[in-house]
């Protein structure tokens, strides 16, 4: 059974803290993505990566950075968390040949 896993389902952090969200996929996919999901705004792409050590900005990269040191792992970093980054964060992966995009279960992050 193919899987995308995320390190935490729920996370509570304080304003100004550095936050790491980890994502691992076991499908040997080249493409990995980080989205945030907010009511009424749908899925908004933060960053994506199409190869190890490669990254591209999505629609809302401000306040975030990413790291992809290994093919199966894609990390989202909030350098200094702010309350407006409270959201559901979804990681996804997809083959370079297209097709289905596989999502993790999401991390609900609350920044106090």
């Amino acid at each position: 059974d193919v899987k995308v896993t995320q390190s935490s389902r729920y996370l509570v952090k304080r304003t100004g803290e550095k936050v790491f969200l980890e994502c691992v996929q076991d499908m040997d996919h080249e493409n990995m993505f980080w989205y945030r999901q907010d009511p009424g705004l749908g899925l908004r792409l933060i960053y994506f990566s199409y190869d190890v050590k490669m990254k591209e900005k999505g629609d809302i990269p401000e306040g975030y950075s990413v790291s992809r040191e290994k093919k199966e792992r894609f990390s989202l970093i909030l350098e200094s968390a702010s309350t407006n980054q409270t959201s559901m964060y979804l990681c996804a992966s997809r083959s370079e040949w297209g097709g289905e995009q596989f999502f993790g279960p999401g991390t609900r992050l609350t920044v106090l």
Binding site: V4, R9, N31, F33, Y35, G40, L41, G42, L43, L45, F48, Y50, G58, D59, L90, A92, R94, E96, G98, G99, E100, Q101, F103, G104, P105, G106
Partner: protein, 111 residues
């Protein structure tokens, strides 16, 4: 930037009713996918439509891709409470690595 607009944004119906969700764009897509997301989970693929005018059926769900490949619809017949969830359409365009997602339709089917 390509945009996909979904309508309606919210839909609450009684069990047994029929419904249609729409996904529209001014852009042409090479394929269009429909996902369903249940509370606390990530979206899961329901179907992919590729050819203009294509119709695919998944039990009580019927998906159609517009002739010009700019729009799609999802029709559910005799909705059941288990159909409750967020329905997302996503378009794939050319060589773009990422999908363009619609804003979603939150469906609630009341018993």
């Amino acid at each position: 930037t390509q945009l996909l607009e979904q309508s309606p944004q919210f839909l609450s119906i009684q069990e047994g009713e029929n419904l249609t969700v729409y996904c529209n764009s001014s852009s042409v897509f090479s394929s269009l996918q429909w996902y369903r997301q249940e509370p606390g989970e990530g979206p899961v693929l329901l179907v992919t439509v590729v050819t203009g005018g294509e119709v695919k059926k998944l039990k009580r769900l019927t998906f159609q891709f517009g002739d010009a490949r700019k729009d799609s619809s999802l029709h559910i017949t005799a909705a059941q409470p288990g159909d409750t969830g967020l329905y997302l359409c996503a378009g794939e365009a050319g060589s773009a690595r990422q999908l363009t997602f619609g804003s979603g339709t939150q469906l609630t089917v009341l018993p």
